[in-house]
Assembly symmetry: C2
Homo-oligomer: 366 residues x 2
DNA sequence: GTCGTTGCTGGTAGCGCTGTCAACGATCCT
DNA sequence: AGGATCGTTGACAGCGCTACCAGCAACGAC
């Protein structure tokens, strides 16, 4: 435990500097801004660091520089497949950068989000990624006062706190319903679970499209606050069918529900799409291999996460993006479950259905 | 920018101490070990901290105390549902504790794992959770030299580095095959993807069970290094069927593959379970609502993550668990897809199938 | 040739907190 | 009653790094 000069075998910046024959501060600069060093010293420090196996002490760095290299990420759920894709994108983009990801789960509670936000902000993160646009007033104020870049993900809307990347759930839902109209469906039910703000906006989109066509009826909508699941999809569909036996299509707020509806149809020997068409949301992998293959609205989740983190890192380093709001769009992927030609076997994804479209919308949907 | 004594409005421990009328070190102790303070000072510091809205500076704390309050978690995949359940458990257990989770993705590469481990260890984490028991020799050495508690999760095996929590994939696979034997199946195929060490051990279990029954044939095994997916399940099953048209059952290394096999059967109009029985692995939520419902091997993923983190935190705080190795077991959940009585509609989970069992095994499976 | 400019380097002084150890009063024991 | 013990408190000295600013050489402009 001889701790006077050499310390307990630990390699500090001072050791690297000594070996390289420079001052500690110069060695420090090598890691912070190598361009500022002369080439000679740069290589000397570099090889000294490598030789000693130097690893910087992040705590000391954070303390001295008064900022951390942590990107805080607030998402509402770890279970939801949708977020695991987004997260993967975020982690991929952060890899190789100096920033590390600090993840927290709001459990779909904006109060919990506010609490976590306060916690995060106190640690002076380098940047923040938050989900959605529905924060408490308090959260909103904290975000606006934060002196770090912030990206809101998952959806776009007016008044971004800083940057924003996502798509319009409202428009996506309208497009899904329009697709069903194009297939000649009229009595289109809506099945939704959890009813977080984004699902709510999908419902809003559905309602508006139905109203536009003069086909909206309240009893066509079945929702619950319960977390989503395949089983729940079957249960909600059962309810829906009891209310409206003449149903000819179901728009599901996500793919798990859609799969549940498909299984329930099979259980009841209801023909899909002959009797009932099914459209899901997110286009998870299994949708393309279900029997029949399931139509869904594709969203670019991985790309969203990756781009969000990349934008954030750029902004942290002072290179703000030209466009603070990015609309990643969506695409209705028409498959057998909603085809008007039931026996149609053409490739699902690239099928040129009339409703296939990739839109790039303005930030708000009015 | 007046930074001489009061600093830029920041609340430091010194401010709290001053307001409370104690020395900074006493205030510090309040957060570290409140029991050591007299009740009077404790309440004084507490109210002072609350009044000022004091938030400790973690960087300073880490620097001064030479340790962090970070739990490092190394998992091989963020996409896999299995890990999202485990992660949820880990995050749930860490919530409310002083520890924060630092997650890294090894992408199923033990070299990447080694690299990340080195990175983590350099930051002196409070504890570490690593996936599986197959580390490089170098990683193993680092783990053993680490001066923090470590939990290996997902499976159990001999020679734990420190603590270990999981179950025997080998035994679980044997149980699944035994269940199929009990249903009168003989030509049982194996379908596996990714073939990480745990899937490999499931294969080993399958092979040994088949050999024990004198039924093993190499052509019954179809595997690929490709990441798993529902679609892949269908494709691998197609291969399997081409090699062995008389197949009467398929044991899938995971549930996604099983779902793919189910869809493929439907596509080919193969009766499940009349012609072919299907058994999956993990018992994801959708297995119970598929048509027919799908038999699977239930694993306690959420509990595994939660217990792992809880054990780790206990160990960090000096309370080592009585048993360093915890076997969470598994359970074959018999459902319609593997029933010998195809039209059987009894509840899937609690069905008293002969192969239903919850085992608690010794740490290794020899 | 002198002056200012630029580019690079180093010294000083903390960042906010906690480990160590000494000091203090109160309680306990003989 | 005196000393030992315990529980509680505070002073001091950094933890390893970087912000700030000064210094110095090399260079170009006049």
């Amino acid at each position: 435990m001889g701790r006077k000069r050499t310390k307990s075998g630990k390699i500090r910046l001072a050791e690297v500097a000594e070996l390289a024959g420079v001052s500690p501060i110069t060695a420090s600069r090598f890691f912070r801004n190598p361009e500022a060093l002369s080439v000679a010293k740069r290589t000397r420090v570099e090889s000294a660091a490598k030789e000693l196996g130097y690893v910087p002490n992040l705590a000391a760095r954070a303390l001295a520089s008064q900022r951390t290299e942590v990107i805080g990420v607030l998402i509402p759920s770890l279970t939801n497949n949708v977020f695991s894709d987004v997260l993967r994108g975020i982690y991929d983009a952060s890899e190789g950068s100096r920033y590390s990801i600090q993840l927290s789960n709001t459990r779909y509670s904006i109060l919990q989000e506010e609490k976590l936000l306060r916690l995060f902000l106190a640690q002076k993160p380098a940047g923040l990624i938050v989900t959605g646009i529905d924060q408490t007033a308090e959260s909103r104020a904290m975000l606006e006062a934060a002196d770090c870049p912030i990206v809101q993900i998952m959806e776009i809307g007016p008044n971004p706190v800083d940057m924003m990347i996502g798509f319009s759930h409202y428009d996506a839902a309208r497009a899904a319903v329009a697709h069903l109209f194009a297939q000649g469906r009229r009595k289109i039910g809506f099945v939704g679970a959890r009813m977080d703000p984004r699902v709510q906006r999908r419902l809003d989109g559905y309602v508006s499209a139905m109203k536009d066509a003069g086909l909206f009826e309240q009893r066509l909508v079945v929702t619950t606050a319960t977390p989503t699941s395949v089983t729940l999809g079957g249960a909600l569909f059962t309810d829906l069918l009891a209310r409206e036996p003449d149903l000819d299509a179901v728009f599901c707020a996500n793919d798990d529900l859609a799969l549940g509806v498909l299984f329930e149809c099979r259980r009841r020997e209801i023909g899909v799409p002959e009797q009932i068409a099914i459209v899901g949301f997110n286009d998870l992998e299994f949708m393309a291999s279900a029997v029949p293959t399931l139509t869904s609205v594709r969203t670019n989740r991985y790309e969203m996460g990756k781009t969000a983190a990349a934008m954030l890192i750029e902004a942290i380093e002072g290179r703000r993006p030209e466009l603070p709001v990015l609309d990643l769009g969506f695409k209705v992927i028409e498959r057998q479950s909603s085809s008007s030609r039931p026996s149609d076997n053409r490739p699902a994804v690239s099928g040129g259905g009339t409703a296939n479209k990739m839109v790039a919308l303005p930030s708000s949907h009015d």
